[in-house]
Symmetry: D2
Subunit: 324 residues, 4 copies
């Protein structure tokens, strides 16, 4: 019976793989069971943050001592920069192992979609490719009800000058010729793909949405980032399944703004953690991982006040109140 | 019977005095009752943060339409930069008014100490001058028990090249010739002066302490900052007194580290605010002001982990986890 | 016979007016002769840089001891933040005095235009108002040939939510409802007004230009900035005039990119400064002031290379190569 | 006859090795001839700048396709972060090839010193080890006169908590227990080792110097940086030798302060580049590489003025005027 194993490993530097290697040496991580590695790194989270690419290279190289190139290539490595504040750099290693037990429990699924064409980025084609990929990952995870999906992490492609030129040479225009803007379009289409797969939005609503303009249609469970290194999608689905066993469970919440903590506390309640105030020691042990995704609002205001994260010389995503 | 009035006023810019002027126009603030104005401004909180001096000039100038120069000069204006994150720039206007009512209640006292000599900065002489000033402010506030003092804000002097030379010309050495270091010595001596006045430490312990070196002796109620514009001390005492009336009360807590929220929740409990989770709407209304003072620890670690606020390109005080 | 007097005064802080006050005390500056004060301040040059407003308040307050409010109000004070690198904070005090001598020489003119309406910002109306103001300042400066104008500094208005609403209440739409964008539109219209006044562009070309979109039409002599504190324009014209005397002269140059030093050296040559390499001591004395205006290009490239000022966490204008 | 070959290769990202790989594919670089790769990367140059480690890993990995591990390990890779401003990220590939020709010409030598013990860091022992290494590299480069050495790049070790503990367990104290401070001590001892090897200072003067305190004794040709990855020293010597051939030459200059350009122009003169003003196109082609090393002075002043690089929120080394 499948079981999810999740290890949270502190890192001493972006390329520090020693913690993971030690767990492998102690048989507490099995390299061939790893579906994905998610990381929070100590860079600034801006365009010039190379603490995202560096650990990916380092992890793939370290894993190549244990896996063949094809296997190593399939491990989804998604890094997010920005631990200024109280966060401490770490990685999460997500494994699918076999063990006896009872469900329901946390279930994991991964899908690497086929490559799309440059002209597909930010279009209905990409939405469908992602939706299919999410469904495949749900199948792998044994999740039958869309409501049991709680988090979908996607790394999606972006446009480069070369890719735009290549499409153009075949007579096809891309959705934008602005490479930076293509990142947003690809992330938006990917998020709508998640919403489609898990029935958050109906297909008609999604197809009407102008990607990158309309802020109405959205997904409460998608976390998407664009990377130059792929033309397909790395999709990781996390949810609850009766066919998985073990003592891990997952839930999710949506914050109304950057200091809206109550929905998070309610999600912890639902998971059996009292969270009356700061987590007490025994509760902290039970919380294996917390994945959060936020960005500053667009109104320049927070509950009628103006936290100056929009005007400070530190870019807004760095200066914005963190969700926890 | 004296009563404290505290107004929290959002500011649209460091020199925005319109909110205060509007309250004066509506007779909700009486200029001649103002003891002190404390502010949180939107600068970076570093050496080159001029959002502290700018509002002081602006407030003094605005008040000079209502007060004579001597009165305006006595209003203690203490500004602190750094609202990156969730804080929103604002000022607190502290007044002593007369009103009927019952105590105990929040009581305020202010004392402007006599000037000290440059060679006194960072010495036992400064400690005694501050302790005397705190006692005078306690008297003014009608606070008889040191345990009823909950917060003491002090602006203290620092050394400049001119002041060091002037002392030297009289044959006196200053505690340091490093002007930056003199800020720390002055703040340290001032904090020890508070500790002496409110019996947190005995005199012998304080006199043994090497100011600027020993981190052992400390005050749980002092908040001190050094400014170039004075050679005396602006001292504001806040506490509880039976001889003051009104519905405001004050309490305080010490956090063990930058994410230690529980002592804060306990202080709120003692004030009658449940604080089970984030403050609910009715509790938010009752909380008039929160004053917090923190800086990153010196171990490079936080509960065994390493939040990289010490190594990021943003200076540590900006990147450190905020107390609330 | 009019003569321009220009004093360059180092400042120890944004609100340091002591240097100017000392020159006034020594009769080396006559307050009622001051046309304008231009300053370079030590803030970050970004939206939250209050080292621009602070010196303006401080200078006006200091001058009010010597001038009546109307006179003080007419002194054009234009501050620019950003001295990270080799620049040192300073102000330039520009006076028109009477003295015997021969021309041609540096000539100064100032004009405060009438207020415009919110709906005029960024339109042909504003262009004409500015062009008229520049011509009036040229008249005051005794400059008859447009080719003798070398630098025009303009402070122009911007839109606020209140101004947009006020225009709307009268049934008029503003050029934009985005207040940040209005700064660019106002600066653009003002620069085109300069180009019109000094015959850099013909009226038809200017009226065809879509302000804020077309980057083709430009002025080689305009330096414009938008400020919230006015609805008119503060215009300072600098050029050469036969009817002014003294030993000061002015010239100007346009750099092709951020490291294009040769045009600057050629301008210095024309002024009689050899500038074969770095200025030698005697040449440095002769150079009273240098006004430069630049921003990073929009191609992400500099002579085929990519200085990463566009991707670094420091905003591009701060990280961009400075003109000198 | 040995000949130096130097390639300057633009990089599109810290891990971009494509330019070097392309030159190898075209036989314009021979991997087994590479002595060293020096790089300027686009990070912030501060403690958390991982754009230094990332290219080293990437280059070693790319070269391992052409070299055996021992050879690849001997290529000295020295990266320096910080291209904010006009610099563009690039690497310099230094090769020793065989070719006919006449000398004197640029000559290169490399030496990897033996490991030292933790307790040797910052001591006379380290000075001697480095001096021996520099002499060995001079021998390899065929440089017989110390005056012909123009640049010595050294990567030296630093202390970690583990290394300090290991020395302590053997009963030896290290020069400091502050790991950050050990970087300065190691760099200082290494620079003095260079000064000793090339007769800039006599041995008695060097031994009297308190490393890390005295700023008197210094080397005009050493450029040293400390790295955690080694306990020995990577030493690269560049100079002129009669026994090397080719059309490359090297010279050096010392700037008196951060804007002292004239010594640089004089060095260019000596190399036959007129440099009357900015380099003209044909001169730019002849300049293959420029290595500069600087940091802000300690007086807070530059030629009597105060460029605020010491007080800005950007750390001083980032905000300091760059040498070229």
């Amino acid at each position: 019976m499948p079981q999810a194993r999740v290890q949270r490993i502190a890192t001493a530097a972006p390329d520090d793989v020693s913690g993971l290697m030690a767990l492998i040496a102690k048989n507490e991580v099995n390299p061939s069971s790893i579906l994905a590695i998610l990381g929070k790194t100590e860079g600034n989270g801006c365009v010039n943050d190379f603490t995202r690419a560096f650990p990916v290279v380092s992890l793939k190289q370290a894993l190549s001592a244990h896996l063949n190139p094809e296997q190593a290539g399939q491990v989804a490595c998604v890094m997010s920069g920005g631990t200024e504040g109280a966060l401490s750099p770490h990685i999460l290693v997500l494994e699918r192992v076999e063990a006896e037990g009872v469900g329901p429990a946390l279930a994991l699924g991964r899908c690497i979609s086929a490559d799309i064409l440059p002209e597909d980025i930010g279009t209905a084609t990409q939405i469908d490719v992602v939706a299919d990929g999410v469904r495949a990952a749900m199948d792998q995870a044994g999740i039958t009800s869309p409501g049991d999906v709680h988090f979908v992490q996607i790394k999606c492609p972006l446009l480069t000058a070369e890719r735009i030129a290549e499409a153009s040479s075949r007579g096809h225009a891309t959705a934008t010729t602005d490479t930076l803007k293509s990142m947003g379009l690809s992330r938006g289409a990917s998020a709508l793909g998640v919403a489609l797969a898990i029935d958050e939005l109906d297909r008609a609503t999604i197809l009407r949405a102008r990607i990158g303009f309309d802020t109405g249609p959205w997904s409460s469970r998608a976390s998407t980032s664009a990377g130059v290194e792929l033309m397909g999608h790395e999709i990781v689905v996390m949810g609850m399944s009766d066919s998985w066993s073990g003592n891990l469970a997952i839930d999710q919440a949506v914050m109304a703004d950057g200091i809206d903590i109550e929905p998070v506390r309610e999600a912890l309640h639902r998971l059996g953690i009292a969270a009356t105030g700061q987590l007490i020691s025994s509760e902290q042990t039970r919380l294996v991982a917390l994945l959060a995704k936020a960005e500053p609002g667009t109104t320049g205001q927070l509950r009628g006040r103006r936290p100056p994260c929009w005007t400070t010389a530190i870019s807004a995503p760095r200066a914005t109140p963190a969700p926890l």
